[in-house]
């Protein structure tokens, strides 16, 4: 019934001796917005390129719509890609760019012009059809690239860091355009990015990759609040990580004993920066001591950086009024505390 659109099964990809992707198992559902996220070199782009047929897996299988696609060349697939560089053809006009896919499929001139114009209209590009690509702004080019990929009405759209070349304010606008488009069309979007704000803002599910393997798959909030591995905790959000052995609800961390709601044995916990309270005097309950380093203004508040006596960096998010009250100066000692029940115990 609900068979996934795409299935990766034990997929490996090697370039010479370099392993780009290892034992990848991944299902992509019809109509979902999936983000592949990770630092550069984590294998996310290779995964996307294998989906488009631009790379062939070294071993394992990739099926799309129930058909094994390993050896199918890119031009026999319907997996249009929006490129990081956009890869618009500079010697063609805007409308000729959009028509390209239809032309390759042998659609006759009148119909392909009509369909291309329809998509240009939909992308707010009416009146630009005969322009050259170098006469467009960055945002307009972006929309031409989208129209060019969608004109064949594919079941799935691949996007490779398409917003990385845009100005910050345009990124937010394009995020809106993309999510609306995906909902309206009801097709699958596979979106590769290294930016967590893009992935968390748009995706239904996020896949975190590191060193060629999947670290965690989940809804944005699940990953944000419940990272499974140290890698994910460090890559996602502003997290503080503490490790040690738990005995009777107490962990002997490097920063002293802290209370942890976990069974006995080795464990690592994650305390998100926005769940850390900063105070000058030792509060009741779980707290560690650290000296203030610096502060940084973030969109949602102010991030204060601390260093413990053992040299571990800790982050805490405070409001502007809290900062004014604390008046921290570099080197001053503070207490960082949190509610043990809201610390996340990693299981990965």
């Amino acid at each position: 019934m609900n068979e996934p659109l795409v299935q990766f099964r034990a997929v490996h990809k090697r370039f010479g001796t370099y392993v780009a992707v290892k034992s990848l198992d991944l299902d992509i559902q019809r109509g979902e917005f999936l983000a592949l996220m990770g630092p550069s070199g984590c294998g996310k782009t290779t995964t996307l390129r294998m989906l488009a047929g631009l790379e062939a897996p070294t071993s394992g299988s990739i099926t799309i719509g129930g058909k094994v696609m390993n050896e199918v060349p890119p031009h026999r697939r319907d997996t249009p890609l929006v490129w990081q560089s956009l890869a618009l053809f500079p010697f063609l006009s805007v409308v000729e760019n959009v028509e390209f896919g239809l032309r390759m499929r042998g659609v006759d001139a009148r119909e392909r012009r009509e369909r291309a114009m329809m998509w240009l209209g939909r992308m707010d590009l009416k009146g630009f059809e005969s322009r050259r690509i170098d006469q467009l702004s960055g945002g307009q080019r972006q929309r031409v690239a989208l129209a060019r990929s969608l004109v064949t009405e594919p079941e799935m759209l691949l996007l490779d860091e398409p917003l990385s070349a845009l100005d910050a304010h345009l990124v937010i606008r394009m995020q809106g355009v993309l999510t609306r488009l995906q909902k309206e069309l009801g097709i699958t979007f596979v979106y590769v990015t290294h930016s967590q704000s893009e992935a968390f803002a748009m995706a239904d599910r996020v896949v975190i990759m590191g060193h060629g393997a999947i670290e965690q798959i989940g809804r944005p909030r699940e990953i944000f609040r419940g990272p499974k591995t140290r890698f994910v905790a460090e890559f996602v959000g502003r997290n503080n990580i503490l490790g040690g052995t738990v005995k009777a609800g107490l962990m002997d961390s490097a920063q002293g004993p802290v209370s942890v709601p976990a069974p006995d044995g080795p464990a690592e916990i994650v305390v998100a920066a926005d769940r850390v309270t900063v105070s000058r005097n030792r509060p009741a309950g779980t707290a560690i001591q650290a000296s203030f380093l610096s502060e940084e203004f973030a969109g949602t508040g102010i991030i204060c950086y601390f260093e413990t006596a053992e040299g571990a960096e800790w982050k805490a998010q405070v409001s502007e009024s809290q900062l004014a009250e604390l008046q921290p100066e570099s080197g001053q000692s503070f207490w960082l505390s949190w509610d043990p029940a809201r610390a996340h115990v990693m299981t990965g």
């Binding site: 631009l54 031009h75 249009p80 890869a87 010697f91 390209f100 032309r103 390759m104 064949t152």
Partner: protein
């Protein structure tokens, strides 16, 4: 003062380099057989005499055939080689590229001798085909360099983008790579034609009775001093220059757009 000396020095150097070119044009319109100062009167007599000789027209015909065939073949091989270098990595690629770029560094007299000996073995010496073969060897590296330069300005994902939109390798070549390289290919056609049109040493070795224009000049030169050479030389110069300027124009016009 320093700048003035600089300009004067530069002007003197350019004057030396361009003196023979300018002189040959001037002499071609000068009535004296042995020009000196002051110059004789203006005449087009040398042109009239040179171009009333049937062997001149024969040579022009030969040169045009050789230049056209050379430019077509050399531009194709040059483009194919540039595309291979752009697109593929393989073992022995340095050797492959050396083969693509070395021929112009070999003295033409040596290339002429080797060509003469080899083409005689295969029965092509003394034919226009022989000259074309030799000129393609010489001109291909220029075509390759021009096309490679153009390809290095291309976004490498452009070709993949064409495959991604449903174009097979051949279709992508026709609809993406070739249109992108078009100005470079036309420019390569012009430049390789100019290289062929001016080359006389290898052509002299292998041409036999099928003389091209520069070979004819060489043979006239071995006889008596004759200002007809200036007339023919000026025409050859104008032909080559139009080809080179056309090539330059195409390269630069395209660059301004990007």
């Amino acid at each position: 003062m320093k700048t003035f000396i600089g300009w004067a020095y530069l002007a003197a150097l350019f004057a030396f380099i361009f003196a023979p070119i300018a002189a040959s044009v001037v002499f071609s319109f000068n009535s004296d057989r042995f020009p000196t100062l002051p110059l004789g009167h203006f005449t087009t007599d040398w042109y009239a005499r040179a171009f009333s000789r049937p062997e001149v027209w024969q040579a022009i015909g030969n040169s045009l055939i050789v230049a056209a065939a050379t430019s077509a073949i050399a531009s194709f091989i040059g483009f194919a080689t540039a595309y291979t270098d752009f697109r593929y990595g393989f073992r022995f690629k340095p050797a492959y590229l050396a083969l693509a770029l070395l021929p112009p560094t070999l003295p033409l007299v040596i290339l002429g001798l080797a060509m003469l000996a080899w083409l005689s073995q295969v029965g092509l010496s003394g034919t226009l085909t022989g000259i074309i073969i030799a000129h393609v060897v010489l001109a291909t590296p220029f075509a390759m360099a021009i096309c490679r330069l153009r390809l290095s300005q291309m976004d490498p994902s452009l070709e993949s983008a064409a495959w991604n939109l449903g174009a097979g390798p051949w279709t992508a070549m026709r609809h993406v790579i070739l249109p992108f390289c078009a100005p470079a290919i036309v420019s390569a056609l012009c430049l390789t034609a100019a290289v062929s049109f001016d080359e006389f040493i290898v052509a002299w070795f292998v041409s036999g009775l099928n003389r091209t224009v520069p070979v004819l000049i060489l043979e006239i030169l071995q006889g008596n001093v004759d200002p007809q050479i200036n007339a023919i030389g000026t025409v050859v110069f104008l032909t080559s220059m139009s080809l080179v300027i056309a090539a330059q124009f195409l390269i630069f016009r395209k660059r301004r757009h990007e």
